[in-house]
């Protein structure tokens, strides 16, 4: 497969693009996605049993952040053709012509190498290896493989966004255990309802770009049903940090309330009687899903920082 083929026609008008500003390069790192990655990785660092020197903890988070940015740059390089036709992404640095595709590719590859090498050499080879796998998974498995082929793209691809707390956990403990898997599953199970809610009110964009998101392949009712199923699956997953001995009472109470609200929002969307109600419900669910993930991880972090005891593990 010729990787350059897809975006030749879409990017012809900006063939001589390049020389973007520092701000354009910063945008190439997908800073909003990066903020979520940094936050969940910090929580993984504090939640893991054991101790890491603060400097090495800082390097771990820095490398994970740079690795996430590298993935974003490589994603924007490959997806420039479909980004150009979607309203939400048309102003990104590559389709807008601020940064040439080759520059984005070079920048992404350089950052990937530096982040993996730094984490592997400075902190832990295992953590560096998992960061390398995460970048590979996001760029090759998700972006190049799944995204344009299957409506299950974000279900499987969601794993890439779920690895960061596991990487920082490994940096502390040196191995993967149930606690790390619990944090992974929180993000993994949250991803489908989050992105499908977005796809419901951005369906036209994805259809125009030929991306097989669930609403434009299986239909809106099926998407609403799948969102509800995954929101319900978030309930047992939300209990996992408690069962694994990572979290305590404060998290239990907060997580129960947040997840009940998450399921309620998904149920309202599922029962939406007409297009207007559905659009409103999808937007509300999308907004709340971001709050849910941040709050769940914030509860874990607060418990650790406050020195509150976790409940005993059942595993």
């Amino acid at each position: 497969m010729n990787l350059h083929e897809p975006y030749i026609s879409a990017l012809e008008p900006v063939a001589n693009a390049g020389g973007g500003s520092a701000r354009d390069y910063f945008e190439l790192l997908k800073p909003r996605v990066m903020s979520l990655v940094i936050f969940t990785a910090i929580v993984g660092l504090f939640a893991a049993p054991g101790h890491i020197h603060p400097w090495l903890g800082f390097i771990t988070i820095l490398c994970i952040a740079v690795g996430a940015g590298a993935s974003g740059a490589l994603n924007m390089w490959f997806d420039a053709d479909i980004d150009a036709v979607m309203k939400r992404t048309a102003k990104r640095p590559v389709p807008s012509g601020a940064i040439a595709p080759g520059e984005a590719l070079g920048f992404g590859l350089a950052l990937s190498f530096v982040s993996v090498a730094m984490l592997g050499l400075n902190v832990s080879l295992a953590a560096g290896a998992l960061l390398a796998f995460t970048i590979f998974f996001y760029v090759v498995i998700y972006t190049m493989g799944l995204k344009r082929r299957t409506p299950q793209n974000i279900v499987i691809g969601g794993a890439a966004g779920a690895f960061p707390p596991m990487i920082s956990w490994i940096a502390v403990t040196g191995h993967i255990d149930m606690g790390a898997i619990a944090l992974f599953l929180l993000i993994f199970m949250w991803t489908p309802p989050h992105f499908w809610a977005l796809a419901l009110f951005r369906e036209g964009d994805y259809a125009k770009a030929g991306v097989p998101m669930l609403p434009n392949v299986a239909g809106r009712p099926e998407t609403r049903k799948q969102i509800l199923i995954y929101a319900l699956l978030c309930a047992p997953v939300a209990a996992l940090p408690v069962l694994c001995g990572v979290s305590g009472i404060l998290y239990s109470v907060g997580a129960a309330a947040l997840t009940a609200m998450f399921i309620y929002r998904a149920l309202v969307l599922y029962l939406a009687a007409d297009a207007v109600v559905e659009d409103k419900a999808a937007k509300k669910l999308f907004g709340f899903s971001i709050v849910w993930l941040f709050a769940m991880f914030a509860l874990i972090l607060v418990e650790k920082l406050a020195g509150l005891h976790a409940l005993p593990s059942v595993f």
């Binding site: 020389g19 520092a22 890491i52 020197h53 400097w55 090495l56 390097i59 530096v114 730094m118 050499l121 400075n122 902190v123």
Partner: protein
């Protein structure tokens, strides 16, 4: 036979861009060195 490609110099804008990139690369390399240096000290003191 390969056609002769006319040589084109860098414009002042190109030069400005190349200079700022060189500075950014230099800063990144210095930061990389500093990080490895501090980490070496931390690990020599048994910090992990």
């Amino acid at each position: 036979m390969v056609d002769k490609v006319p040589m084109k110099g860098f414009s002042p804008e190109d030069m400005k861009r190349r200079r700022s990139r060189s500075i950014a690369t230099a800063i990144a390399l210095v930061a990389f060195m500093v990080i490895i240096f501090i980490t070496s000290i931390v690990q020599m003191k048994g910090g992990h």
